[in-house]
Amino acid sequence: MTGRGVRYRDPIVWSVRLAFWLVLVFLAVPLLILAAVSFHPGRFMTFPPQGFSWRWYETLFTSSQWLEAIRNSLVVALASSLVATAMALILALVLDRYPVRFGELWRRLGMLPLFLPPVIMGVAYVSFFYAIGFSGRIENLIIAHAVFNAPFPLMLISTGLKKVGKELEESAMNLGARPGVVLRTVTLPLIRADVFAGALLAFILSLNEYIVAFLVAGFTVVTLPIELFASLRYSYSPVIAAASVVFILGTAALVAVADRLAGGLWD
């Protein structure tokens, strides 16, 4: 290759290489500093650091305030991801397999929440729930997150159905299986990974969502991001860093599982 020698001496090539490493450092350092602060025994992180301690994690998992926030977050994320996945599964399955009037319109409507800035959706929910006299309930937040996150399972399940195709279902039908049996024994097992991956994404997004949750029920239902935000307004404490690290690890683990589930299908 004649270009090889030129490439490595060229200053442009070197600056691209440098930019690559700079961006990687830029992406990683903020998260590393959180880990450092969370394990630092003192209230403030000094440089160079002075020792190692689990005390902030102990505070986190023994504080009723933080545990309550974790519990609320898990309840909302679990319930909303179930509703979102049920919506997405029915929508994707029926629209893909049956002729439906305005089918394309419903699919687009299902995807539309993705395009709206969450803060605007939040104010819309404030207006709506206040107008019907049903404000600040945890149910509101579950519904809001379900509708807002449904596009992700919808996207995954629709893609899964397209990849699976209809041949296997047709074979089952030709062999005399009734539609209900085909759905239960052929279609659903084939798209199971997509359904789980979609549910997991909806769960992760709900767990991480701040502004819709704050607007819909911020004063009554304190989720983990809301508690984090509020604590950093009122105090500087390494407990926030410990909570963040727990959050980062939890999210990373869930994303890895979702990635494996959705990716496994295409292997």
Binding site: G3, V126, I204, N208, F229, V255
Partner: protein, 321 residues
Amino acid sequence: MAMSKGQPVVEPALGQAGSAPVPAERTGRWARALLVFPVGMLIVFFVVPLIMLVVVSFYRNIPGAGWEPAFTLENYVRAFSRGLYRDRLVYTLEISVLNAVLCLLAGYPFTYFLVRLASPFWRKLGLTLAIGTLWLTYVVRSYAWSVLLSATSGIGQVFAWLGLTDRPVGYAPGPVATVVGLMYVFLPFMILSLYGSLKAIDPSMEEASMNLGARPWRTFVHVVLPLSLPGAAAGAVMVFLLTMGNYVVPSILGQPAQWTMPVIITNQVMNESNVPFGAAMSVILLAVLGLLAYGTGRLVGTARVHPYAGSRVAVDGGERR
């Protein structure tokens, strides 16, 4: 059922599913009945709230006692006539453009180097690291920067230790922290968008150009850059639109001078309890975003301008529209 179209029609079908046989038609009706749940949810809890947003934006605010139904334009008049709100809208547009440009400048060389890595393992690892933070709540990512840029626990300590400053200096909250934080949270979207289009360029094209005697810079300008332009433009538009709608970063990392429209809107709703005015500003922001998305969508191609389209790549490792 659609799948049995090829079979002989047993009986004229009910409903509008023209040619399906009877048993399938029965399950078809049942299936369509199930649609009431998702479609009902979307209409009641998505379409209706958006209509309510517009309706409430014309209501009159009663300080301390909610609102009263009315048809008044005073919220819109207030939003347009006060310099404060006009300035905030202009500032939001400016910082969103700035962020799109910065993400493009940082993301382009990074992604170019990433797709040219020889080993698929390192490429996958690099991409995972680059976009891994995408799922993490803005609150934690902003907080990380507020620590990193603080005087007490951040780089201020390092600078002081190195003797660059007499005592530790903090940069958060402030303009620097806001710009850096916005860039941090939206850079992954830019990288995802660029990754797709840079990956699609065959390296043999560059080699051909080099073998014909073009120097790297010329090869880049005439071969790589034109081919990657759609991905770069789509990424920039995506980052711009997402920055316009972000609340968390400017409110954690900014002082009031760095507050964008979403912060102003949320403060009106939550602190001032003035929902009608917040709703009016939301409608204005939505209109501005809609116009910009439509305009840029026509330039770039609508399908690509999609705030989260990129996240599909994170999930299934490659497919994009």
